[in-house]
């Protein structure tokens, strides 16, 4: 198994992603960090593992009040971020949580990891933040 790359920051996304602004805040913070040249890991657990499941496709369902606009899915946003920052953004998905929720089929840009490896990711990060648990 490939070693965990050293990064400036780890964002551990543990909360229910659509209960609050967690998704947009995570993406905004990731954007801001990457814009500053940082290296970053994102680790999703629980329901947040669904953010990058393959079945989401590239777009959200059409918005009835904005019929012609394409709204990218969270999977597409994550894929774009990873592609735009090669070698600087690493996205990991908890294997147990995604399997438990039937969301093991993930986009190829992310890596699924067993939960007991989480400590390796915290050790590989300069700073680690846990988002979504209050």
């Amino acid at each position: 198994m490939a070693p965990v790359p050293r990064t400036d920051v780890l964002l551990a996304v543990f909360g229910g992603p659509h209960r609050t602004d967690l998704v947009s805040t995570t993406f905004r913070l990731a954007h801001a960090l990457l814009d500053r040249g940082a290296t970053l890991q994102v680790w999703t657990c629980g329901d947040a593992t669904g953010l990058t499941r393959r079945s989401l496709g590239d777009s959200k369902p059409r918005n009835v009040v904005d019929w012609t606009r394409d709204h990218p899915s969270t999977a597409a946003v994550a894929r774009g971020l990873i592609a735009d920052h090669p070698g600087r953004l690493h996205w990991y998905v908890c294997r147990f949580c995604s399997d438990e929720r039937g969301m093991g089929d993930q986009i190829p840009e992310v890596r699924r990891r067993p939960p007991f490896t989480f400590h390796e990711h915290t050790q590989a990060a300069g700073k680690a933040l846990t988002l979504g648990v209050c």
């Binding site: 609050t20 805040t25 905004r28 960090l33 940082a38 933040l129 979504g132 209050c134």
Partner: protein, 108 residues
């Protein structure tokens, strides 16, 4: 000087843990630490005047209150609606602080 950065994401007025988190910030500031409280998502409501007395106490103790501009705009809050000593900042401000080796950060 080390900055202690506490990021609050839930409205502390409606979550006991959130209010205790602000209390932690207050204690740190009162103890003389350079302490900042970054309010994001629903926590921006804590920067409304009178919303949470602990925030006023925190400012009185020398703490700094930072309000995420996007979260405030999403809730139709303008800087004029917020505590005069609260500073509205972009997410880039948080990123810069996070990447500063002198900053220790906790997210709640």
């Amino acid at each position: 000087m080390t900055e202690l950065l506490l990021v609050q994401s839930d409205d502390p007025a409606h979550s006991p843990g959130g209010e205790r988190f602000v209390e932690d910030a207050l204690h740190l500031a009162a103890a003389g630490h350079h302490t900042s409280l970054f309010l994001v998502d629903n926590a921006v409501f804590a920067a409304l005047p009178g919303a949470l007395p602990r925030v006023d106490e925190f400012l009185g103790a020398g703490g700094h209150v930072l309000v995420d501009a996007f979260s405030a705009q999403q809730r139709s809050l303008t800087p004029d609606d917020l505590l005069a000593r609260a500073r509205t900042v972009e997410m880039d401000d948080l990123a810069a602080r996070l990447l500063d080796p002198q900053t220790k950060v906790v997210w709640h």
